[in-house]
Symmetry: C2
Subunit: 233 residues, 2 copies
Amino acid sequence: MTESNPSVQDALASLAATSTVVVPASERVADRIRAEVAEARLRVGARLPEQALGEALQVSRNTVREALSQLVAERVLVRIPNRGVFVARPERVDVRDVYSARLVIEPGAVRYGERVADPAALAAVARAVDTGRSAAATGDWVGVAAANQHFHRAVVALAGSPRLDREMGRLLAEMRLVFQRMPGVREFHEPYLTRNGEIAELLADGAIEKAADELARYLVTARDQLLDAYARL
Amino acid sequence: MTESNPSVQDALASLAATSTVVVPASERVADRIRAEVAEARLRVGARLPEQALGEALQVSRNTVREALSQLVAERVLVRIPNRGVFVARPERVDVRDVYSARLVIEPGAVRYGERVADPAALAAVARAVDTGRSAAATGDWVGVAAANQHFHRAVVALAGSPRLDREMGRLLAEMRLVFQRMPGVREFHEPYLTRNGEIAELLADGAIEKAADELARYLVTARDQLLDAYARL
DNA sequence: GTGTGAAGGATTGTTCTACGATCCTGCAAT
DNA sequence: ATTGCAGGATCGTAGAACAATCCTTCACAC
């Protein structure tokens, strides 16, 4: 590199930032299956035979196994030795555990997050509240559920930690499976819309301690309601 | 089941609880490699060729690949497409992120954990402090480091969430890689022994808010110290 | 009838082989 | 000193194969 003017430097830096365009086959398969589970086209408890999947997706059984292993690690699927992999069926203890984790992460992100004062991060929280409200106004309940997930994701993003964001994503994926198992999801999400709004306002006002504690109460209420619904099932 | 007295019930329940004795080959391999990395026999940045591993461990390349994929998901290894997998080399941004996550999880577990008053859980914290002190007394610095990890693990266990425990395990595994990269680890751990003790006492006294905030300050200090050491490297 | 046991089929766990794609290395050419 | 290219190594993926395990079915005995 005999000479290097700034524009060339920038161009090289931008090229270095471009990630690989090619996505491994096993990841494509994992993405496909993950989406099918998220959209409930693959119901809770459904079995996923390796050979059938390989033929359906035009991919080798090896590749299918890699994808399935990844999804098992994400707790979207469970593997029973010598029996196969199934869409995870969250039990009572799982609901309890997921909420124990959320109860630490979400209020913790509010109280000890490094971006609690970041306008962009706070705007994302407010946006999730707004989209949830407009979805509710049109009776779009699946939209309300999605907005609710966005809200909690945005709250955790206040921590500014990609690792925590990923873990929260896994927890929310489990929540989707929980909702699959119980009826009356529409009524479930609606009352929390107003509470989401209250928390967003507290955050905007900088009342982070109040917001964190209110969020904790919120989660305990939701957990108990879910456990109650699980009990009569 | 025509008749069933309680003793039979108990026996069946205990049998149902016994997990499968057979461990899949890929998991055995993953455990092996994970241990090698933890003991720093596989140094940061080291390359792990699939074929060589398979021959060394008397296992097929497919099985090795499954194990490696699992460890990549745990962030112990990183995979560079068409190049291979390597022992992860945590950069500055990784240290920052790990601490952002710990800063949420650890004080969060203290403040919002469901087992903060559980004597058994608190005893585990105190025990980690004690073993750390006796290790320091004999100059056993690797023992001090291990006890320190136990301390933080015990703190997160106050949340009572296996999922959070697993995530904390992954974060601590990354911390071990961080410590591999910087010299003077002995001096690093020692000053935190007394702070561990202070936090344990606060917890024993039921001063959970003070304990949580002190833990947060603790983590910020440690993070800055590590980032500083990383800068001059 | 209810429980026990054996035969048959399907699926998983694992190994082995194979081959194109990609990357690294070294050397020659400009 | 940079570029271009051949050679070699490793990865990504496919495919076939086989033992081990599990489920189902059916026959059999009490």
